[in-house]
């Protein structure tokens, strides 16, 4: 990319959560960037270095004014929330995810200063089903599209990003479809799952899991703010773990559970707290999902430091050490 594309004023959304907070800190360490502005509804509990916190709702028109006043040239959208718990309910979650992205993209469209938009999305948009190809490239869409929850929100959010790229072809857009983010400090539905004393597994199924280490997730976003513009790109650690393998690595006992309604499954879900596992995660554990990362390597020029197995082992090491992330702010990813 040419010199002109180097960010000067960056706006990051969703900074109350850990990943976005770390992106702000990393950007703030770069002396060539004049200002890093972090917005969220809740003030971040973690330090943001040189980054400035502005309390703002991505859904409000205030944001458009902020972008204009500060002369923001790069917008990093990380304000899509994975679990209802983190947002304070499913309704609010959907509101922030879908309407928030819509408003933010509209603000970018109207702005004269914005030249680049980086969006953190999820590989969850590909869904997980036995009827889909083993490996998804960026051009593919799932046969069975996610119909609810966070993956569905992400699909809608992505459609607003695509809308922006159609209406403002002069704005460079990089949308990162990340595999499930995992690591020592992030807390997601999946890390909660692997912290259970007994792991309930879908009867007779074993998904292929792919992970992205939290450090790599941060690095990928930072890289995308100044790296080549690639449009939509999958981001994941190398390699694949089967669910059985992940369970073996985690050294925890497991219990097969028949999914769907039924005496045993109901009993087990209550007993083991599996009720917290949304349908899309069940599908992920059952059938898995693998994304192709050729474009990430060749076009985006990004190489994750951790493999899928390495990322998972890094999470397990932290789990064994017992430093539960309660003191850490709750985080997104999935």
């Amino acid at each position: 990319m040419d010199e002109a594309a180097h960010p000067r004023v960056v706006l990051v959304t969703g900074v109350a959560r850990d990943l976005a907070g770390r992106v702000v800190r990393r950007l703030a360490e770069d002396p060539s960037i004049e200002r890093v502005i972090g917005v969220d509804l809740v003030p971040p509990k973690h330090p943001m270095g040189r980054g400035e916190y502005v309390r703002a709702d991505v859904r409000s028109p205030l944001l458009a004014r902020l972008i204009t006043q500060a002369g923001v040239d790069t917008v990093v959208h990380m304000g899509v929330i994975a679990t209802p718990r983190d947002a304070g309910g499913r309704v609010v979650q959907k509101d922030i995810n879908v309407l928030g992205t819509m408003q933010l993209m509209a603000a970018c469209q109207k702005s004269a200063s914005v030249r680049r938009v980086v969006v953190k999305s999820t590989a969850g948009v590909y869904g997980s089903s036995p009827r889909d190809p083993a490996v998804f490239t960026e051009e593919m869409t799932a046969k069975q599209l996610p119909r609810s929850g966070f993956p569905h929100d992400s699909m809608e959010a992505e459609s607003y990003v695509r809308g922006l790229s159609r209406r403002r072809p002069d704005i460079d857009i990089t949308m990162l479809r990340m595999a499930n983010v995992i690591g020592p400090s992030i807390r997601t539905v999946l890390t909660d799952y692997f912290r259970m004393p007994v792991l309930p597994v879908p009867f007779g199924q074993q998904g292929r899991l792919q992970f992205l280490h939290e450090d790599d997730a941060v690095a990928a976003v930072v890289h995308a703010t100044s790296g080549p513009v690639v449009g939509t790109v999958n981001v994941a650690g190398d390699g694949v773990l089967s669910l059985g393998q992940a369970i073996a690595l985690s050294r925890r006992p497991w219990l097969p559970v028949v999914t769907g309604a039924g005496g045993l499954s109901l009993w087990a879900t209550r007993r083991l707290g599996w009720a917290a596992l949304p349908a899309d995660h069940l599908a992920f554990l059952s059938y898995g999902r693998v994304i192709d990362t050729q474009r990430m390597r060749k076009e985006l020029g990004f190489a994750p430091a951790y493999t899928t197995r390495g990322a998972f082992e890094s999470f397990l090491a932290a789990r064994r050490a017992g430093d539960r992330p309660e003191q850490q702010p709750v985080e997104e990813g999935q």
């Binding site: 009827r131 190809p133 083993a134 879908p202 009867f203 007779g204 074993q206 694949v240 089967s242």
Partner: protein, 310 residues
């Protein structure tokens, strides 16, 4: 797990080793060979328990396939069906290739035997990666085992990827129409569909190897298809054979028919020029040629086979 005392664990391992030695001795292994095989089994179990093995992006688990699946199938292949393989030299020693075979036998055991034939008879012990129907991957137990042993969904995306990576890919284009046909239609090839497999081979510019399988038709002769029952269970067909469902699960035991598997001369796809994979005329021509070759070879092989069981 932490409640288990070290000595208990040691004892359990000793019992396991004794059991393995007894099992090995029963199959006729002695001395060093026995020790070696017990050690290998223990090493395998350790890898499984600690997750110390690799699964590729399609879910293929070479460790499991070579140490569990194929050894389990081998007695069936050698002693039960007495599989005779012809034309193994027609398979490429390395690089991509598409093996296209006829499908039959009510239970799709022909793909497993073909996989074993390719593995055991090729000099490099090549692994055959197979394309299967979505029903396979949706089924509990069956789905994960299918992926572990090298199957993936029959879509052009997966076929393309495997061929581009230089794998030997097996496809049974008749699908359920082939396995679920009645015994009276045996050795009569069903429709080959739209020839998606040909397009994949053309794009990857890999040879197509026609493969004709004789013997699978007789493992469970399907006398009738209980279609209403199949609809009720969401299955493509519900077989009624001389033994199934009358004998229950025992009725699934395959009959010991004599098998012949012949790999035909490879058909080149790299000389068709740019855009051939999108040309329906080219695709259908090759698809027909493959189908004709298999059908003819089937008739020849049937003439060669003295009887169904010998």
């Amino acid at each position: 797990m932490s409640g288990v005392r070290e000595s208990d664990l040691e004892q359990a391992v000793m019992v396991l080793i004794k059991g393995l030695r007894a099992a090995g001795a029963a199959t006729g292994l002695v001395g060093d060979e026995l020790d070696e095989s017990v050690a290998q089994t223990l090493a395998f179990l350790r890898r499984r328990l600690t997750g110390d093995y690799t699964v590729d992006e399609f879910g293929y688990d070479a460790d499991f396939t070579e140490h569990v699946a194929l050894p389990l199938l081998r007695p069936l292949y050698r002693s039960w069906f007495r599989v005779e393989v012809r034309g193994i030299e027609n398979l490429p020693a390395e690089g991509g290739g598409l093996v296209v075979a006829n499908h039959s036998g009510t239970i799709a055991i022909d793909s497993l035997m073909t996989q074993l034939a390719v593995h055991d008879e090729t000099p490099g012990h090549r692994s055959l990666r197979m394309l299967g129907a979505d029903l396979v991957f949706a089924s509990p137990m069956v789905g994960p085992v299918a992926r572990k042993t090298g199957s993936t969904l029959a879509t052009s995306a997966d076929a393309q990827r495997l061929l581009d990576e230089g794998h030997l890919v097996g496809v049974w284009p008749e699908g359920f129409k082939g396995v679920g046909k009645l015994y009276k239609d045996r050795y009569r090839l069903q429709r080959f569909g739209r020839g998606g497999f040909v397009a994949a081979a053309l794009r990857a510019e890999v040879p197509i190897i026609p493969c004709s399988i004789v013997g699978a038709e007789e493992v469970a002769p399907m006398l009738a298809n209980a279609a209403p029952l199949a609809r009720l269970l969401g299955l493509p067909y519900f077989p009624v054979t001389p033994t199934f469902p009358w004998l229950g699960p025992l009725g699934l035991l395959p009959l010991p028919s004599k098998w012949l598997i012949e790999f035909g001369a490879p058909i080149r796809t790299d000389d068709r020029g740019e855009g051939a994979s999108e040309d329906p005329a080219v695709v259908f021509e090759i698809s027909d040629r493959v189908r004709e070759t298999i059908q003819h070879t089937l008739y020849n092989l049937l003439r060669d086979r003295r009887s169904v069981f010998f």
